[in-house]
Amino acid sequence: MINSIGREIPQSLPGYASLTPFGGAFALKPDNRRAGPRLCADMPHSDKRVKSIDAAIDACGLQDGMTISFHHHFRNGDFILNTVLEAIARKGIKGLTLAPSSLNDVNDAIIPLIENGTITAIETSGARGKLGKLLTSGKLAKPVLIRSHGGRARAIECGDLHIDVAFLGAPACDCYGNINGVEGKSACGSMGYAMIDAAFAEKVVAITDNLVPHPLFPISIPQTDVDFIVVVDSIGDPKGIASGALRISSDPRELLIAQYASSVIEYSGYFKQDFSFQLGSGGASLAAARFIREKMLAQKITGSFGVGGITTPFVDMLEEGLFKCLFDVQDFDQPSIQSIKRNPNHLEMSASYYANPHNRGPIVNMLDVVILSATEVDVDFNVNVITDSNGVIMGASGGHSDAAAGASLAIVVAPLLRGRLPMVLKKVNTVVTPGESVDVVVTERGVAVNPLRQDLKDNLRNSGVPIMEIEELRQLAVNLAGEPDSIPLSDEIVGLVEYRDGTIIDAIRRPL
């Protein structure tokens, strides 16, 4: 069947009960209810600690065919996912659905467990490296399901994604299960993605290398959600969890894109006192922070709130008083972790508060402006951030479609050419964010405004940025690099991209 943006979606697929085609960013009106774990009763003064990960797996009653989850706050420094899965595999448990909030290069280590049938399904935000290649190869029994951060929170809350056991790495945990992410040698900052897993999983295991006396505070994940606690030597490599301060790029092309993006914001009509702002962590979007900051200072404008994965440039603006507060679902560098620990205006939020479209209002709904990166964009303004120019999974859906849908002004930044490959295409290989949510595409050679936004086009007339039609941008790229051949694809579907509301926006087909 064909969805509303012209993408061919399968009617049924092995392992999937039913598929609903995407019908528009806000077309679907939910009519089901929140799900939740079974009630339980804990006896006073009980001890939640168990001796080992093995013991925790046994205590949870993990069986063949169940669904397990992890958070990705430790990014490439994560020890938990690989260690737990190896323990599960040793027990001979098979046919699991793995549902982490995302996967990183470090998780290439689980490939043998996919090949031996320990894991037969994956539902996540994205994957990279060898794992991304494997998922695209069709070796997984059930095609991989890609969800946005907001979409995952929605799926967990409504029961589309029912987690049997959540294994949560805890930088600090007390002996009755209160957790935060800001203390200890493996501090990661916000625990935003893990909060939903903790609240909705049938069983929750906290794994920590920093057990502290009760009560731990501040509390990110409360004792009321946690069943078992395991103490291990190390839950992650601090160097991989967070980098040093993420600095603004010195790449002149990224700076030029950032400069255009900030001029677009300045003239858009949304750049005014108390505007709210989200910033992607890619090179050009991060660099835009510098120019926006200069414009805010020059025009004496201060913002209301900042959102997102948080990085040093955003923290600096908070400390300068340029934003009143930051809502933080994930931290990318050490200064951000220190900030969320110390600054009361730097607020931790859950993935549901961030971006779930089916609650009573996520923070993205209050966003004025977001700058997002893209792998590819097409002439309908659809954005791909999941597959590369060979059709292989190498990125993550993240909060892309969530922020784009919520923001009044969604700016997508991308180089017009990567090497010799045009990035503005007739059709992107995989749609993650629909063109209706994207207002402006900014490249180093020109800026295109979505025809749905004539108002913006008018406002940007005197901005000094080179405004052109998106087709002109594509042509410019083709003139320089030639028309790229389309990626030869088989009919075999190896993945589905779920839109944040649970409908299917695109299918990923195995490249030939």
């Binding site: 010195s250 092309r253 700076l255 030029l256 050419l417 180093e444 320089l480």
Partner: protein, 295 residues
């Protein structure tokens, strides 16, 4: 008015840089076949630059820095590149008028062969030695193709047995001589590169100083330096305002048939009027509008 505030060097052997060189708004791009290209890449860089200027529409003036014609690469550079009709040929390490005239003759021959308008390919020369500096005016005036004279600072200070400093005293004489020679020949004077791309303050100080000396522009090595040069070369709001007042006072005095012109108690004579006219023409050429606000 032809602006040459920023002339950005681009290594001729780097396809990515050649592809994107035009997006940063430099007044001129200098595609380099000389120092930034190693000997074993001379031929491939020549071919790459030829293809780039033949196929990519650049919004800037295009100059090619060829290898010196005394080297085995200079003449092959010209033989290949002239067919693509660059705007400018830049000769490095120039020490005599003869070198300019030799290149001029090769260009003339190419213009005839390819049926380009006579004189459509221009030249500039870089003086980079003491010997060259002593011939600066002869070099600057050696051919009607000559539109600019540049100082190549790094080689020059090496030839003087010294090195570059932040205060720039070691280059003061050379810069002054280059400027005098260029002005006497009626062509542009272009300052040397500032190679520490992360020293923004040092760059701004140097660019401000050479602008005050009278230079028309500066060679740059990184796109991040372009906007800084352009800002410095943009007349300030105060300068534009003053120039306008000078011209009004001048017009009024003419109308009154008065021989003595004054503005705010200061006498205005013809050089001041000429400078005011130049300021306004320049502001117009750079699109300065009401001018730059001084910080």
């Amino acid at each position: 008015m032809k602006l040459r505030r920023s002339m950005m060097f681009v290594p001729g052997n780097n396809p990515g840089m050649l592809q994107n060189a035009g997006i940063y708004g430099a007044d001129a791009l200098i595609f380099d076949l000389e120092d930034s290209v190693s000997i074993n890449e001379k031929d491939s860089a020549r071919e790459l630059v030829f293809q780039a200027i033949s196929n990519i529409k650049y919004p800037s003036e295009i100059a090619i820095r060829i290898n010196h014609i005394r080297t085995p690469f200079g003449r092959p550079d010209l033989a290949k590149i002239l067919a693509a009709k660059p705007n400018l040929i830049r000769l490095p390490m120039t020490e005599s008028a003869v070198e300019i005239q030799t290149v001029d003759a090769i260009i003339t021959e190419a213009e005839n062969r390819y049926k380009f308008a006579p004189g459509s390919i221009m030249m500039m020369a870089a003086v980079e030695t003491a010997k060259g500096l002593l011939k600066a005016y002869e070099i600057a005036s050696a051919s009607p193709r000559m539109v600019a004279l540049a100082i190549g600072g790094e080689d020059f200070v090496a030839d003087l047995h010294t090195s570059r400093s932040k205060h720039g005293r070691e280059l003061f004489v050379a810069r002054s001589e280059i400027l005098l020679a260029a002005r006497a020949a009626g062509i542009n004077a272009i300052d040397t590169v500032f190679s520490d791309v992360n020293d923004t303050e040092g760059f701004i100080n140097e660019a401000t100083a050479i602008k005050e000396m009278g230079f028309d522009g500066k060679s740059v090595v990184n796109p991040r330096q372009i906007q800084m040069v352009h800002d410095i070369f943009t007349p300030t709001a105060k300068e534009i305002d003053h120039a306008k007042k000078v011209l009004v006072a001048y017009e009024e005095a003419l109308a009154r048939k008065s021989g003595v012109i004054s503005l705010n108690g200061k006498m205005i004579d013809l050089p001041i009027v000429a400078r005011a006219e130049r300021t306004l023409a320049y502001a117009d050429a750079v699109g300065a509008g009401a001018g730059r606000v001084e910080s």
